[in-house]
């Protein structure tokens, strides 16, 4: 059964592994020089209060074209990988057998259809997780100087690995995404029995889940830290006034918590209300922004930040990977149920 699974799968397997290998080669070629740049930077020598040095290092890389491009290419690849696996490994796996009728040939060999499915899911599922894990590993290795610096000061187009867009490109989360995408594709293919239709539906579901999860679920996996600090004039960046002449909102620079994921940052009154009251006189006359911001700061406003601190990064990685793997296992159970009940 393993032989048949491999024989049917090898073309797609080689295509994806070749893509990852080619990218790995690119990382191998550019990686050593990146390490040299890092060693030579003041950031590598820095022992405390390294925000400034980290920022300088990242700005230096941002002006050195290949690094930012490779950094973005890596992120793009690893974000697209689950979709590629779901569409080209998962969806056709059973849909093509059902479409062509060849499952009738397979199911009448001396192997039960449960074992047939188990081997297919096992071999391709492990291959999916392995390719995602490997890509994440080599990308994480290559980008470790950048990630270290971006954890202290996100600048020059490099962001902390905890940021929603970057979170899924590092660590073990890609393994969970790959397993989920693969089994999702298999189940959709099993349910709709048409390869192209199954690919379309798989893509739509994957995109929806990958957008919804970071926005709706991830912020609440652990109760975020709420921190309220007094608003200073230096932090204020702008203000909004509503139709009644009341202060609608004040825009302030997000608190700088190194490596943290800032979920929201809002200016409130000292009692926590978002009704900020009247607009100070200084802001209505033409006295310039500085006078206005000082007047605002004197209103005893607070800046309430909601964030997940940097030291929770790996906890989030494990929780999110666990959730995706659990869903993948449930979907796999759905595949067995469907093969046993619905296809008989």
């Amino acid at each position: 059964m393993i032989w048949l699974t491999w024989r049917q799968f090898r073309t797609q397997a080689v295509a994806v592994w070749a893509l990852v290998a080619a990218f790995g080669l690119l990382l191998l070629v550019t990686g050593p020089h990146l390490v040299t740049l890092y060693r030579d930077s003041s950031f590598a020598a820095c022992r405390s209060n390294c925000g400034q040095a980290a920022g300088n290092f990242l700005n230096q890389l941002a002006n050195d074209p290949p690094y930012h491009t490779v950094y973005l290419l890596g992120a793009l690849l690893i974000i697209l990988l689950p979709a590629v696996i779901g569409l080209f490994w998962g969806a056709p796996l059973l849909a093509r057998e059902l479409e062509s009728g060849s499952f009738r040939l397979a199911w009448n060999q001396s192997v039960t259809r449960e074992r047939w499915l188990a081997v297919k899911l096992g071999v391709l599922g492990l291959a999916s997780m392995a390719v995602a894990g490997l890509l994440s590993l080599i990308l994480g290795w290559w980008a470790s100087p950048i990630d270290n610096a971006a954890g202290l000061a996100g600048t020059g187009g490099f962001q902390s690995r905890f940021f929603p867009l970057d979170f899924g490109t590092r660590g073990i989360a890609p393994i969970g995404y790959a397993a989920f995408a693969f089994v999702l594709g298999v189940l959709v293919g099993l349910m709709f029995r048409r390869t192209v239709l199954a690919m379309g539906i798989t893509l739509a579901v994957l995109v929806a889940v990958q957008i919804a999860f970071p926005m709706v679920v991830r912020p609440h996996l652990i109760t975020p830290v709420r921190e309220t600090t007094a608003l200073t004039a230096a932090n204020i960046q702008g203000l909004g006034i509503n139709q009644d002449g009341q202060l609608q909102n004040v825009f302030a620079q997000a608190p700088s918590v190194p490596g943290a994921w800032i979920i929201s940052s809002q200016v409130t009154t000292s009692s926590g209300s978002t009704a900020l009251g009247t607009v100070p006189q200084a802001c209505q006359s033409q006295q310039g922004p500085n006078a206005c911001f000082s007047a605002l700061a004197q209103k005893n406003l607070n800046q309430a930040a909601v964030y997940q601190p940097a030291n929770r990064y790996w906890t989030f990685q494990w929780i999110e990977t666990g959730i995706y793997l659990t869903v993948a296992i449930l979907l796999a159970w759905g595949c067995f149920w469907w093969v046993r009940r619905r296809l008989s």
Partner: protein, 297 residues
Amino acid sequence: MTALDASGLGKRYRQRWALSDCTLQIPEGRVAGLVGPNGAGKTTLLHLAVGLLAPSAGTITVLGGEPASGPAQLAKVGFVAQDTPVYAGLSVADHLRLGAHLNPGWDAGYAQRRIDRLDLDPAQRAGKLSGGQRAQLALTLAIAKRPQLLILDEPVASLDPLARREFLQDLMEAVAEQGASVILSSHLVADLERVCDYLIVLAASRVQIADDVDALLASHHRLIGGRRDPASLPGDQEVVQASHTDRQSTMIVRTSQPVLDPAWTVEQLSLEDLVLAYMSQAANGHRSTRPTLEAQR
């Protein structure tokens, strides 16, 4: 042991019964033909027999076991599905390798000899084979696993007349060599006439009749005579089909007794006439008083 034993078997797709109230015993060691018009439920019955479908009503056992209940049961039954599906991207040799990997009883020598004899190129991709070659490849896979029962669903439907004859002849040789039972379906009696010694007529989702071919031919007669009401025939003569002109009646009857009434001219029926009589009876919604026409022995 019976090759196939069904009792009250039925399969429903949403509201429609594709097969209903099917009670049938096919003895082992026969070449049984399953004949019926398109959509009669032949494929449904065969899929139930190999476990590709689960019954909605009744029970079915094949060679004493529940269809597809485990590797041992699967090994006992060979199946060639309609349109003889194969893996288009795999070569002929790959198919043989597939069979060897997935069947403990695989007869590699036989499979190889058969492929050689059929002149199939082992390196040829199965998707590039002609319909007849594909059917032969699928049959090779089914036979080389050394099943006790071989089930074929319209194996010759896509073949031209010459290929049909060769395929069936080849099938019979292989089966005779191995002593396996066979059930094969077709909507053409002519395909089955030459090879089957047992016949099942399936029409309108029901088994119309099932018996040895010889017994069927011996117990059915065409009676031609002066116009008569079918109800006036003796009780042991069951009318399958009756047609009348102004002065003459032609009836196809089934009886275990000789027809002695001198008013009738008695003619032998061909197997095709017999099958057609049952098919048109089913099509006209004529239900026999007997619920299923079990074989009289």
